[in-house]
Subunit: 137 residues, 2 copies
């Protein structure tokens, strides 16, 4: 398939493992890390919603001028599921992913980069994805 259209958004999917459970269950900390990530890397946070789950786990979701960023945590597994979706530039997303991985003291990290909004010549849509390594530029 040829690349018949412009990418309308970049959606980076981030899995963090090996994070300390106390960090992942700290509601205010998770909210703060989301805000810091958007502030530092040029994303405009318009609104944030969050929830502390029982017996554990936190969700924080930022509505961005560029789309959204979410953090969901499973403290019992040392796991955080993050995504950053921007209709703007993706130039700083790798740095943003590194920042949030470091902030949550992740021992390992997987990142999948999705290009959203692609359209084929025949009008059908398609999805493009590729793994991203945070270890090198």
């Amino acid at each position: 398939m040829t690349d018949a259209s412009t990418t309308l958004g970049y959606h980076w999917i981030v899995d963090l493992h090996g994070c300390p459970s106390d960090l992942l269950d700290d509601h205010e900390l998770i909210r703060s890390r989301l805000k810091e990530t958007t502030d530092r890397f040029g994303l405009t946070l318009l609104n944030i919603v969050s929830n502390q789950f029982e017996p554990q786990g936190v969700t924080a979701i930022g509505l961005l001028a560029e789309s959204h960023m979410s953090i969901h945590t499973w403290p019992e597994h040392g796991y955080a599921a993050i995504d950053i979706f921007t209709c703007g530039s993706e130039a700083r997303l790798k740095s943003a992913c590194r920042f949030i991985a470091d902030a949550l003291q992740a021992q390992s990290c997987s990142v999948l980069r999705l290009r959203r909004g692609l359209l084929n010549h025949d009008g059908t849509s398609r999805m493009a994805s590729e793994p991203i390594s945070l270890d090198n530029d």
Copy 2:
């Protein structure tokens, strides 16, 4: 790689093309469709945030007991970017995707299913993705 861990969440990424621009630029309609989708398909909506962009475009994001659902629209392209992330069952996600695609009168649709939270035996994380067709069961 062997499947060394349980999937902690299912994240379905949905690209809709060929939607009428007036639907995609209707803030209340987009919010309503998000609510209807979660209500009909067993997802628990705890909070919703949304924004009408200028000159056009809407974002609606639902914080779910199960994780999140988002809708971002580009009326000028007839395009909507949707994701549904659940830590629960994915049994009804295909029906949910069909419902929202129909509700927004999409002419074409791409769905990518991500399994989140997978961990290898050696402690490294990984991401698994596969395209999903809504045309058959």
